[in-house]
Symmetry: C2
Subunit: 457 residues, 2 copies
């Protein structure tokens, strides 16, 4: 065992350090498509912030690149290790430390999964409302990528719900940021800077998240439209209505066909209607009172009909759940259909229609396919890209991202840049902003050990 391995083993215990062949393939990738797998030289499984601090000190001294890993469910390869580097896996730091029912926060270790947190908050009548669609994802991973998901239209994204962090700097200091309150105006907001930094600034070792009352009654409405522009025009009207939907999604006809087929959904949409649909709107409401929920569903149905829905289907609990779950698994449908990349561009929701028209034109010109669904309320478009040739694909994605940015959008709404989108960011972003990001990175991580290749190439 080399001296570096010996030192790392000293820190976490020999049984929590994997080296060489003991490292399984799982640690060599996350769920991003089209990225080469890469095993690290070491996998360390710390169980405390102090151990993480010691690991980072050792890594800084040895010049060892460090990648953090939660559950490995990321879609942009931000958790793919570097050759010869150290992977810090948070699998053993997986405790819910506290469900605080007075301040309405949960304090958790980064390896806690969303499923676990959901169960624990449910017991208290509360909810952590960020559902990026993969319940095995870890809170720490969500913090790294600023995960979003379907309920962001009502509850915001990860960043909106993280109140505080304990984090370890690459130089080994352990800091605390924020706290159990939404209101702090005491210096720069380090919490918000670390959220979404994809493991390049500091490693979160404890996360304080905001909890919300868990509203017990919910209903899901499915509205097919002849025309995509009608769907997009309906979205702001639904938002302004005051009905406060917590899910507001569109699904295009091809994606819906794939979901229905893969997940054996029974949506009750007659064939004659299904054949003419260009896109569906899925709207979910929730309430603490069943009577009010029923009234709201009726109001919503009337509104959607006025806005041009061919019909309005109130889904039964079981089929509603299956549809939402299927939508959450859209990535897996795309993957099993042979998609070569998945992108999650964001644009102002007013620009979704022009964006999609242009993106489809670009794909067609490139001889590629681009189908998808998305968070209509947030302008977050998920497209599965079918295009085998890497060069053609790079050109196509560059054009699609350029189009999104020209419309006032950004490359990623929730997946992050990771290893898959960093090169586009570098090429397309304002150099003055790239320079600021570089200086911030330099301020946190002067030795550049944290996740090299992510955000900066």
């Amino acid at each position: 065992m080399g001296t570096v391995a010996a030192r790392l083993a000293d820190i976490v215990g020999a049984e929590n350090l994997l080296v060489g062949d003991a490292i399984s393939d799982d640690y060599a990738h996350d769920e991003a498509l089209s990225v080469q797998q890469q095993k690290p030289a070491y996998v360390a499984k710390p169980h405390s912030a102090e151990e993480v601090a010691e690991l980072l000190k050792a890594a800084t001294e040895a010049g060892l690149p460090v990648t953090a890993r939660g559950s490995g469910t990321g879609l942009s390869a931000a958790a793919r290790p570097v050759e010869g580097g150290l992977l810090v896996s948070f699998e053993r730091m997986n405790s819910v430390l506290e469900i605080d029912t007075v301040n309405h926060v949960a304090v958790v270790q980064p390896g806690v999964t969303l499923a676990e947190l959901d169960q624990r908050t449910a017991e208290a009548g509360l909810t952590y409302p960020v559902y990026p669609g993969e319940l095995s994802a870890s809170v720490g991973g969500n913090v790294g990528t600023n995960a979003g998901g379907m309920r962001a239209i009502k509850y915001g994204v990860t960043r909106s719900n993280v109140l505080g962090l304990q984090a370890v700097l690459p130089t080994g200091e352990i800091i605390r940021t924020g706290g159990r309150t939404s209101k702090i105006s005491t210096g720069y907001d380090l919490t918000q800077l670390i959220v979404g930094s994809e493991g390049t600034l500091a490693l979160a070792t404890e996360v304080t998240v905001k909890l919300h009352p868990r509203l017990p009654h919910g209903a899901t409405v499915l509205a097919p439209f002849d025309d995509f522009d009608q769907v997009m025009a309906a979205v702001p009207k639904v938002v302004t209505s005051g009905l406060a939907p917590h899910i507001l999604e569109y699904i295009d006809n091809l994606t819906m066909a794939a979901l229905v087929y893969n997940e054996k959904l029974e949506l009750g949409v007659p064939d004659a209607i299904r054949d003419r649909v260009q896109a569906y709107l899925v709207v979910a409401l929730e309430n603490r009172d069943t009577g009010r929920l029923e009234e709201d569903v009726e109001t919503l149905g009337e509104l959607l009909s006025e806005l041009g829905a061919i019909d309005v289907y109130v889904l039964e609990g079981g089929s509603a759940r299956k549809l939402i779950e299927a939508r959450e698994k859209a990535f897996w449908s795309a993957k099993s259909a042979g998609a070569d990349d998945v992108i999650d561009v964001v644009v102002p929701r007013s620009s979704m229609s022009p964006f999609l028209t242009k993106a489809r034109e670009l794909a067609q010109t490139a001889g590629a396919g681009a189908i998808g669904c998305g968070h209509a309320g947030d302008g977050n478009v998920h497209l599965a890209i079918f295009c085998k040739d890497p060069e053609v694909r790079t050109k196509l994605l560059t054009d699609i991202f350029t189009c999104a940015m020209d419309l006032g959008g950004a490359i990623s709404g929730e997946h992050g840049l990771g290893r898959t989108k960093t090169k586009y960011h570098k090429e397309l972003e304002d150099p003055a902003k790239l320079e600021l990001l570089r200086r911030i990175k330099q301020g946190f991580d002067p030795a550049g050990i944290l996740n090299p290749g992510v955000l900066f190439s």
Copy 2:
């Protein structure tokens, strides 16, 4: 006219540059107490981002300290200029550029007041929900200090509602951050870093804020309690109820007496009750439907009675508005009563009671007074400090801030550090975090021209 003045006059036009005696006293202060006034050498009134950029370039080259000013309503002297420096006043950049009813955002220049924005959003049936209590405040000033206010319990603070910025770096580059969407995961969040940075990193020249549906019906409930701990125990129950109050304030008996006296409030609380009250809870609800609002007010009243309220008063529109306005003016009551400082410590709401007990003890020991009110839902405590001796006051505030931080809180919830609290922050904050802040500052403002003396001494 010196060469610097000539260059500044070239940029903004001679009629928009004030020098020497032409600078009125207004520009020498904001509303912070106990801070010496200081006129700058120059006041420039740019009317575009390009002019701001030229001003900052000139300032960088001349080594001229620069302070930004909105309406001058700040409470921590972040807008108080530096001797010999340049004050950039945004009074001419006061246009609402767009109320976007599809994306539900407003795009405004920094000098727009909250009153103006409120009027313009009302016309569209929307609202910008951050009400820090002073409608003449500017949006740019709110961005600088991350202003909060009473409605944060439902809608969050400024930071939660700013989606994007155009900002000018001290080196003269104009950047755009964020956009007309809540979901972006494309590099570090520069928007969130600039919000709350008190004019020390960059000057915002355009702000994109999130708008919400304006719910037309509202009601305000006043509940007196015998005991402060009961008030604090009631707060989380009201939050968990799902009634979603947009205002949840406590007012202690002395402060309420001052408000009633100064503002001639008629609250309908009988003398016999008033004499035994230790603190009041003020809860406001809103709804798009009057029937639901009435039901909710009834539910709230029952809940508050169960939680120990002596009685529950549903205030008529006029007196409710007057009470809320009086609460918003509590600072002015404190000022006219001769307060020597005003602090806005934040703690987890579970710690408000122990914090207040300790703070009053500390004040008593110091022979000082500390009375107040606060945003009970957010743990944000406003205390008017009556203590003439500056040394005793510094010691008292140090002790009070230490107590808040030991309870997991922070020095300021919404006023910012400015020139009044920076020294405490420097003394009490973790040196590792101070060093990070310094490095971030250095990355944005290598010449250190932006607001020296604020956040860093």
